[in-house]
Symmetry: D3
């Protein structure tokens, strides 16, 4: 169960409202790299967690933190929309390119649908989509998903930081960037606690590896048209990262046959020429 | 530029066609964990790659491999649909639960829309969605995305392997599982080559960390209602994974104020009581 | 069955074509508050209606009216696109901010995909989505959905009205706003005819209320972290709106236990540490 | 800011796990009538609220309650999946229609993607979609949206209640149904506190009604092909619900002209015959 | 403007209600091959039509016909749901595979969301999507889209016809199949009237062909890995269908260079190694 | 199986980078008319092809060509983003309308999410959607889909050509337009090889036409409110295009009855008044 307090987790202040920046901030709310996604991701991982409960507690705890981040960003969007244009009337006259540019560049639905407030959508107005939420029941896979989610989240936040020179917004983003730093480290720490990539990979590590075709488990295959060797690197030599094989490389040649599905069935709605006579 | 050969990358054989398994296989084609996603992900990362070209070459090479995996799975779906029911007529009489169960359990669009062949959709018939493709221009973030994509892909493939006892399907999946083993290791190898998490984290590592609020960069914050201490672990003590801080923990208290957006503007479409008199 | 006449339901005239306004008008066609949604909503409610046929007739009648509103708005979009820019060539030189602002602010697909005409999409180019259509088979729930749909529709239309000073567009919107006034009243009139909220609530009123946990049926629960009392108002005192209970309030405390899903099954694809040894 | 406690808001117990019921329960989590939608809806309405803060407090408070409902239902789904089939192997033999029916009827992604846990998706596996969240900045419109959301939510919960005879599930649903009863009453109470439909309608009530075409504001228009009179009722006679007009009815005749968009522009990509010669 | 009559365009009768067939019929309502799509497609093409008005009239006329087809199919779905199972209770006991198979095979939202009626969704419960509607402002391209839409619609209808032995449903489908026959011919007749493919192709025919790279306009290029010749046929020899060239064939070799995007910009959020030192 | 070469299929050069044009180019990558769609469409048609293998070979060959077109366009987008604005800071001051217009008009996710590279999305940032891919198992229907896909693709490419005056972009588009010319002709050539519309129509031609209601197979029905005759043309007279009937026309009158679904079932969640007493 959850509870709420009226104070924000951290200061949110906008010195110069900017409706175009409001549009950009939407990416951090309802975008694939945004806070609704990580919030639901950690909560659903926690709610579906089987095995040691310590990770469940940790996931629900940090998932709860993220709801407060959505709250901060939603507030920031509303504050940035304070001075948004709600009329195209002057644009028709076309006197002032700068004003028009703002109007053309803001999200029309911030005026039309949301009444100058945030929406669960991204910077292009695409709605948040639940398919982005990763929660597989496999703690190794999910931790990797979480490290990546925080990497893409911090990347987005730093790009937003570069984009503005509003001191209030820079301060808020400086807090969120720091939390993304922690969360990247946090999910990596779980992987380390579980023995690191060597113990966790290949995911799922509960699948008996002698059932996979081990001829192909540690070889980098090349798909160059002229049979040229693929690029060499750490992935083509020495022990594999999971410590269970040795990297090698070779050009790939087809191992299967040309497939043939035969003629179409008479009851399948094909054209006459496709059905065996 | 790409070229094609008619032979499949690996053997695809179905001993006993099963239209319900065909539905499940769709997840590996058009699902969020599927091959269209990784294929486009590696190709778009390669096409947008800036910096050393070795990663670009590697990405395009493996992206090309994945097109061939889509091809294998699409063939497997078509073969599993060989004996699919295309009529509900006997079901009305209700003589044979087993036959009906197959019909109720298969994807109706395999008959109605695809004519007994594969679709770019998942096991619930949701179409593939381009928003799943991660390509950010940051090689560190993208490699994490790729390790995770292969982890969720191998997880899916092993679950499909458990689900069937068709020898041909088990052999095909045993090949794909092996490739996922390699690819998990491969993307981890790039991270290692780039100096490992210590050098790469926090992503993006080009952002000056003194601009983030470092008071919050390495502390695990607790959000328990009773102020209880959050779960301890590797993430609450010792040097952080990126080597740039020391983990600690403390319960969180709000650092911001209660936000107040004031009254609604007269021109914003609010109700009368919301607009300042 | 439906028939068509070539004349529009009401005058549609554009005095000064404005492609940015064309983009905004799209919200009223294919947006969640738009005419395709209400049109399909009333028609599907009518087609699925069980019980007294008077509501079915009424729904199909007004659903038919709404097709004509889509027609009006589609015409308005096409007329507003008369002078749209189809070339970026001058923008490259960057001489005239005003012209560029128009180009940057118009919907690129109005030129690229629609050839200067309307699309079944919203103001951000998101396609109309059938999931917005509410038709539940419960006349009480559906009437509430309809009142709300017309409220959000009139809200949108008045915001569009504020946005333009084109006399033709203002006249067209003045007609649509009037129809939304009527329709809000119309669906409320059905609720009144059915006995009002007192008789209709709680929806569905055919469910035996003694099967719900009545301890929680009329109490406003507080979720403040410090146990502070939640905000008082009409919802915390006196008889409930449905006349079947008395409002009260109290802070909420968890009534359930900490859930425990146990260990993961060996065949479920979890990591080794999650599976009971 | 939010906090979490490990105990559930209310008891969640499953006596006989049923994976088909797990699929049905998904509608109450990630469906258009589900808890993620109302949760985000109340939170976004609160975060964007302008005007008297009492409604903001109330919205955030009840939004917080709803996060706990998602938690309860996610737990219920996981418990119902305890005995789910993860193998199609016996189905191939076709011995037992009942077992097969369960497998055909369960959500394949519950096994393949979620590892026997809940997902932010509906009963057909469609992901939650942010476009369903209504938050307009107009408190009247939003309260109507909320009453409807709770009506459709309670309708769904009672249908789920009818569908199961598991005592634990019936008890959990009995709690959720009671909360939906309260919430329907609660949002209606706000409308009453604000003066009721008479004061609030037509929404938005801040728009000057003399700007709408009042000839059409309170007349029920008929669209029958034979000019027959439309169905009479409360909506065709007496004072309108908003008290600002008198209902009447009449058959509609087109008031506009046949639109003519003229010839296509030479630069618009039309076929030759469409462009003026 | 549109009008409605209560009688259906054609007889709709269901002799033996079948909820699984109801699910399949949804494809013809809200699927990509369904009636909502063609209805909106013809209407939007008509509303946006520039050039001779005869095609506009024709499009709006047939678009109006299609609304009545949605109505027929929505009625058919509701009638097929008459006896649908709304309870899983007996399934738990698992006595009767046939009954369970029906329940597992029906659309859960037909019970939970629609109350035994049709929805604007496809056979997998995916909502209708406005992006499927083709209306480009180019009459040639749109007519091709329409012929294809009717081809896929008739294909679907015949597959549904094969799937049922309900006499009422077969009769209704026999009517719809006939209309699809007409409409395929109808749109082809427009192409013929406009001079046929020879005059219309390549679409758009208003683009000056000397601006395209005519070396590549009529050659079938081969992309076989071993440089083998591509399959020969009508498309590799003789005059092209548009009469403006001669078909030939040759293997393709890359005509471009290896692209190089250089180093990443310092402000673009890339990792350190990607940014020029 | 597929292979890759590093050289592009054709030259891609950008003389003056233009981030707004980059946004427009996205339509040709991830839009409904774009290259990902045709690429997957031809590949899935080939992989699911039953009947003579010559069409399969041809489809896979051209599908392979299209992957290389995605590659060219992704490169073009990245090159056009070279000089994109990544900061709103100067816009706040509002000195230069032209610069601001560029920023307002570019895709915010090109900076925030993709790091100045292409995405699998359209010009409005809507992600590519797998539901656009047509592959039905019926070669006649699919060829029509393909002709139309190339028509809409060429239409888009010529509109992009009109939009730019960058010589490099015009050259690249001139190549793509030529390929669309070929592909339109190519799919038409298959139809001709198969006997032309006369032999192929009505699709599917394997359905026995005496099972359709032939009274309605070749008549153009009129749906004008006043019973006026519908527009005459090639579709109302002479032999039908498929040569199997004679066109005629007549106004349509309803052939069905007013449907009546009766009362609601007590267990269906309807309101009390809807359920038979």
């Amino acid at each position: 169960m959850f509870k709420h307090t009226k104070q924000l987790a951290y200061k949110v202040r906008v010195d110069e409202p900017n409706p175009i920046f409001a549009k950009h901030l939407q990416q951090a709310i309802g975008g694939v790299e945004g806070e609704i996604r990580v919030c639901l991701q950690y909560l659903f991982q926690g709610w579906g967690n089987r095995g040691p409960t310590r990770y469940k507690d940790m996931l629900l705890n940090t998932g709860t933190e993220e709801i407060g981040h959505i709250e901060m960003l939603a507030t920031a969007v509303a504050l940035n929309l304070e001075g948004a244009e709600t009329s195209l009337q002057e644009e028709i006259a076309g006197k002032n390119g700068a004003v028009e540019a703002v109007l053309g560049g803001q999200d029309p639905r911030h005026v039309l649908s949301a009444g100058l407030a945030a929406m669960p959508a991204d910077a292009n107005g695409n709605p948040f989509n639940g398919s982005w939420v990763v929660a597989t029941g496999n703690v190794g896979s999910d931790m990797l998903a979480n490290v990546h989610a925080e990497a893409s989240g911090r990347l987005l936040a730093t790009r937003l930081w570069e984009m503005t020179d509003d001191p209030g917004m820079k301060e808020m983003l400086g807090f969120l960037i720091a939390r993304d730093t922690m969360h990247q480290n946090q999910w990596m720490a779980v992987i380390e606690e579980l023995g690191g990539p060597e113990k966790q990979l290949p995911i799922p590590n509960s699948f008996p590896q002698d059932q996979e075709n081990q001829e192909y488990s540690y070889v980098y295959l090349g798909f160059a048209q002229d049979g040229a060797e693929p690029p060499r690197g750490r992935w083509t030599e020495s022990t594999s990262i999971d410590g269970k094989g040795t990297f090698s490389l070779r050009p790939m040649e087809p191992q299967g046959r040309e497939p043939d599905l035969g003629s179409a069935r008479p009851d399948s709605g094909a054209q006459e020429g496709q059905i065996e006579g």
